[in-house]
Subunit: 402 residues, 2 copies
């Protein structure tokens, strides 16, 4: 009995697939007693289980509709709710043909790549950025051009030069990918002047902007800057948001808003991808919102996560060596840290020995870099673990230097 020799059958993309380095690292962190600052998951301890269960009444009330195939564009009542609820952030109530419900923002990203990117085309991404985005983009055959970030997000002032050099090197940049609020992993928020400058540059150079905003609702201090979408009158900004961080990632319900011409093509691609997002999941999420539970839940998670954020900040202040460079994020899930002269891959092994885990920097850099950086997530660990985790991390840093 001979098995299929797959190498001769695979597509080019499949031949180049690599298991996610983060997944490999996370396997090492499954030991008992491990304090995990690694995975960027919400805290299941505050999932609104009772309220979400209450929403299941829509299955008995509208079962024949909810159990049937739904429109590819999304469950209409959910779209209407989102248009109203998001109007303050979007600058207006967006029209139905501007919105597409997706199976998580991850699918939105994949659909956007599928309608814009040919294999070999490039995407301009932040350095560092969300590795899941890089994975999706690589699966669509994309190459990358990177732009550095600082405490105010993407260095928009460097973009003209970067774009010129990229064009000279043969890159065809199809869109700019920016996580605008409490970025994963840097925690930084793109400042209002930079949002304006980025949109101006996009107009000048005929660029498409993908404004990814999964953390926008998780602001613990200060006030939100206007979305880039709300300032765009040319249809060149595509905006994505999700229920993963503000309700439950297991629902896999997110949405994209953009120019109707673009959305229409994403809908046609989605017909081929999965016909429609689970109507059951969409209907439960809709009913949960409709019952007022989303508005009730948001203040709770803001308090819950801001306490954790403060706990991690205080623990780092108390226990980490002075050379650790980081900012305290005003929202989201992440601290981003630089430890000059430290190889965080080596640190990771010491840290896991000590019983604390994080994600090493290079995972977040599309074209390499970040060896002395690490991401520390405060959303998932329990409050009492924050200080102990910082103590262990400090010990691991000392281990490495001794």
């Amino acid at each position: 009995m001979s098995r299929v020799a797959w190498d001769s059958h695979l597509s080019d993309v499949a031949k180049n697939l690599r298991p996610s380095p983060i997944r490999e690292l996370l396997k090492l962190t499954k030991k008992p007693g491990m304090i995990s600052f690694a995975g960027g998951n919400p805290d299941p301890a505050i999932f609104p289980v009772a309220e979400f269960s209450e929403a299941t009444r829509i299955l008995s009330e509208r079962g024949r509709e909810v159990l049937q195939y739904g429109p590819t564009e999304g469950f209409e009542p959910l779209k209407q709710f989102l248009s109203r609820w998001m109007a303050p952030r979007m600058g207006r109530a967006t029209a139905p043909e501007e919105m597409l419900i997706t199976s998580g923002s991850q699918q939105g990203m994949d659909l956007l790549c599928s309608v814009l990117v040919n294999p070999g085309d490039s995407i301009l991404v932040e350095d560092p950025t969300y590795p899941g985005a890089l994975h999706t983009m690589r699966n669509r055959g994309a190459r990358f051009v990177t732009v550095p970030c600082d405490a105010e997000g993407m260095r928009v002032d460097l973009l003209p030069g970067i774009l010129d050099r990229a064009a000279a090197e043969g890159h065809r940049v199809k869109f700019v990918y920016a996580i605008v609020n409490f970025q994963n992993p840097s925690g930084a928020t793109l400042s209002a002047p930079r949002r304006k400058a980025l949109l101006e540059l996009a107009k000048e150079r005929d660029l498409i902007l993908f404004e990814d905003d999964p953390y926008g609702h998780l602001r613990y201090d200060g006030v939100s800057d206007p979305t880039i979408f709300s300032q765009d009158d040319e249809g060149r900004v595509v905006y994505a948001c999700s229920f993963s961080k503000i309700l439950a990632p297991g629902s896999r319900v997110a949405w994209m808003v953009g120019d109707p011409e673009l959305i229409r093509r994403m809908v046609m691609m989605k017909q081929g991808n999965d016909l429609c997002t689970s109507v059951v999941a969409q209907a439960l999420v809709y009913e949960y919102c409709n019952l007022g539970h989303l508005e009730g839940f948001l203040p709770k998670i803001l308090k819950h996560y801001s306490v954790k954020r403060d706990g991690m900040a205080e623990a780092f202040r108390k226990h980490l060596p002075a050379e650790a460079e980081y900012h305290i994020p005003a929202g989201g899930f992440f601290f981003w840290m630089r430890l000059p002269g430290v190889d965080t891959k080596e640190l990771f092994l010491k840290a896991v020995d000590r019983g604390v885990a994080f994600v090493t920097g290079p995972s977040f850099f599309a074209n390499g870099g970040g060896e002395d950086c690490l991401r520390l997530c405060f959303s998932f660990a329990q409050p009492e673990e924050l200080e102990e985790g910082a103590v262990r991390l400090a010990e691991a840093i000392r281990d490495l230097k001794s």
Copy 2:
């Protein structure tokens, strides 16, 4: 204010996207009083709404798990259930690493294309076949080689010649797509000797087979032939099945079974596509099965749909002209009909005037053809509509000839 000129931004696939012709036709059928034999939807009148609602108890019982991100491979209890439940059809209890839960079979098809097909590669499809599959395959840049079908399914005897000619014409055939039971649209089932011959040919020529089986459980007469998967000892058959027809398409839960090497790569592609299928939807489907409702529901739908099948057969026998050529399907949702000398696109317009709808033949042919064919679905129309629909169809045929 100038809008984005999208044509200069789109990918090659997006530039060539065409709205589904079926969707366009279906819009014409939304008139009041229309009897629809068009869309291939299950009958919402028998959705197990109460039983599915009962399954929502898993949300209260395991909410913290079900609302969190899940493994890309699928919700483990559902995979275990399916391995046991499908063992008689699969020939054995398949291993966890052989199975991937997908967001509908449609996603499984897309993932399979993504790991096997480069743009410009070809897929060997049945003539006629499911238009949704053609749409997914086109979105991945595939071309098509076609093989005719008869009452016993794919003409496997013609395949060697077809493959030789295709190779000579520069086609690189990456897999063979067969809907093995009660095919959409032909209603035909691939006979046992042809299944064997197809697998033999696949071994001889090192072909990959995609055995798509959404209707396999909907057999009204006779006994099932062994799956091709169960006869394969080389890992070259990928098998897909779905809850869409046996429970509820709105769940968007399906599964694929195949060689672990292939499944592993599909999992990595799916990580980029949507991270995982809605855990909420998977958990509800699992609990519904776990409560024994799937086994309870299957006899009900078999009876429900076989009565409709018989009703349509009797109505066609009584009212349609003798030149109408069709077989009575032993399962599934569809009658496939040939009306020699009739252009079914013209017939469609007459039929819609008379108040009955169907899908015209050419939608089902990858490279053209089928002008005198039509698909008539009996699952969705109500029992009392079957005879009246046949009367109207007969009138439309007369209208066309007068």
